[in-house]
């Protein structure tokens, strides 16, 4: 018998978080990520954990702030409009150097938008998670197995670098069911000597705070934080290359768009078109290396997105605009079809990279 379980992406995130040692979940329901909260509500009380449905997203993220300050692995999850509400808390957590996992199962926007899948929070996740200079580690799973694995990875990275990790998924990834193996190693959380665990009259007070009224000090904190970010950019970028060895056209996409794109690449290869795929797994840090390498070989990049074109800017930056980067997209809760991507590949192949 198989040792796998059949899970929804949302359930895989919840179960993986529990395996990673997370015993505190705070959230507020919103489609299409509600199964994360439902799963936590069912399981946390049975394992001595805490599930709390907060009165709002803002309350939930501040509860995350509190538990993270106390040194425990903690998470919240939401979907696009709910993440926007959490952005103040995300900035405060960055300013306080607190580790936590935040999950965004994206839906179409802006505003209340719809409940169908989207990738239009790419900028929000990689650029503007809140006010001030800060970054979050952004992980983009493309299978239910990766939903689980990157959740564990997210907790580990968050603890290592004392910052927020975000799982940037979408409605399809959250709802789709696939067999998952949950048999993976989890590194124990590192010691957190900064946590507010009580002095027991044996050490100085630990203070977790994002307020710095002395400009020189605040500047120093910012510079130190960005030195840490630089190290992450150098060491933690993750990506998958597919059929890139002899590729003359490079399709690039993350999450659900990458799955569709892979099918299109396979079809194009059958037609004799030399096309490959770069799939970023970390969106921040953005994996620049494979793009730099490809920019000297391919005649065109095609960025496949469920947005009006957001990641495309990072592709242009990573390739220094050496060759054209075109957009193949659907929005509003729609997913590009393999046929649509294939058409874009055929067009790029015929036009030879001309705009």
């Amino acid at each position: 018998m198989s040792d796998k379980v059949l899970m929804k992406g949302n359930e895989a995130i919840a179960e993986a978080a529990i395996i990673a040692g997370c015993r505190h979940y705070f959230g507020y329901p919103i489609t299409p990520q509600t199964e994360i909260a439902a799963y936590m509500a069912k399981k946390m009380p049975k394992i001595g954990g805490c599930f709390l449905q907060a009165e709002s997203e803002i309350a939930a993220i501040n509860m995350v702030y509190g538990v993270a300050s106390a040194g425990y692995r903690v998470m919240t999850s939401s979907s696009s409009p709910g993440i926007a509400l959490k952005s103040e808390g995300l900035s405060y957590m960055a300013g306080s150097d607190l580790p936590a996992l935040v999950v965004n199962v994206q839906r179409g926007g802006p505003g209340l938008g719809g409940i169908q899948p989207s990738q239009s929070d790419y900028f929000q996740a990689t650029r503007a998670g809140g006010h001030g200079d800060f970054k979050m580690i952004v992980l983009a799973p493309a299978s239910v197995q990766e939903m689980a694995e990157l959740t564990v990875k997210g907790f580990e990275l968050a603890d290592t670098y004392r910052m927020t990790s975000m799982i940037l998924a979408d409605g399809t990834m959250g709802q789709m069911m696939e067999p998952v193996s949950l048999d993976f190693d989890v590194k124990p959380a590192p010691a957190k000597p900064w946590a507010t665990t009580g002095t027991k009259m044996q050490r100085e007070h630990n203070i977790v705070n994002s307020l710095s009224l002395v400009p020189e000090e605040l500047e120093k904190f910012n510079i130190e934080r960005f030195e840490r970010y630089k190290k992450i950019e150098e060491t933690e970028a993750m990506y998958e290359e597919y059929m890139m060895d002899d590729a003359e056209i490079c399709v690039t996409a993350f999450g659900i768009a990458a799955r569709v794109s892979k099918n299109a690449v396979n079809e194009a290869r059958k037609m004799g078109i030399k096309v490959g795929l770069i799939r970023p797994i970390t969106l921040w840090p953005f994996p620049k290396a494979p793009y730099e390498k490809a920019a000297d070989k391919v005649k065109e990049f095609i960025s496949v997105e469920l947005s009006m074109g957001q990641m495309i800017e990072d592709v242009r930056l990573a390739t220094s605009c050496k060759v054209p980067v075109t957009l193949c997209n659907r929005v509003g809760g729609m997913i590009p079809s393999p046929e649509q991507v294939l058409e874009a590949i055929i067009k790029a192949n015929q036009n030879g990279g001309a705009k």
Binding site: M1, S2, V5, I115
Partner: protein, 221 residues
Amino acid sequence: MEFKRITILCGHYGSGKTNIAVNLAVELSKQKNNVLALDLDIVNPYFRTKDSADTFSQNGIKLIASQYANSNVDIPALPQEMYAVIDDKSANAVIDVGGDDRGALALGRLAPSINEENNYNMFMVINCFRPLTKTPNDVLEVMREIEVAGKIKFTGLINNSNLGRETESADVLYSVKFAQECSKLLNLPVVLTTVNQKLFAELNGKIENLYPLTLQNNNVI
């Protein structure tokens, strides 16, 4: 398969009950006239019997679903015509109930009439490869919650244990033992073990009450 006037399908979300509801409604339409399919799923707006609207119309089945099902409107609405199932005693119905006890609350509205008439079957769809129903005791717990919320007693089990596309014969054979354990614990019969067409060919004759499912279309992802 022999049908009572009303067939109710419950199961933890992701158990596959909507798929089975569609299959049983089609089977029922081959045996009886005036077949209704009632979508009472107020829990998950993503997967609905409404996805099979074409299948229903081709087989002359009347689908009763919330006008908001499969739209972008994320509200737990019930269809206004739902009472046709209990008002029209000449109708033969399959009811798809939403996952877990909250979903079953919608069933409670129909329960007094269904219990009084007592011409129904209510089946629990089980999948031992789902994380929250991996042991017979897990299944028991979910069933008791559904019974309390829905106010109707179960009459049988449908074993739909699967791992999606990776399901193999050995997995199904294992699940049969699991279903039997559930059956013993709950004192309810396993009325069907459901598999896809490919596994049906491999397992036909080896498992009692094996039933081949026609699966709803999946996107190419």
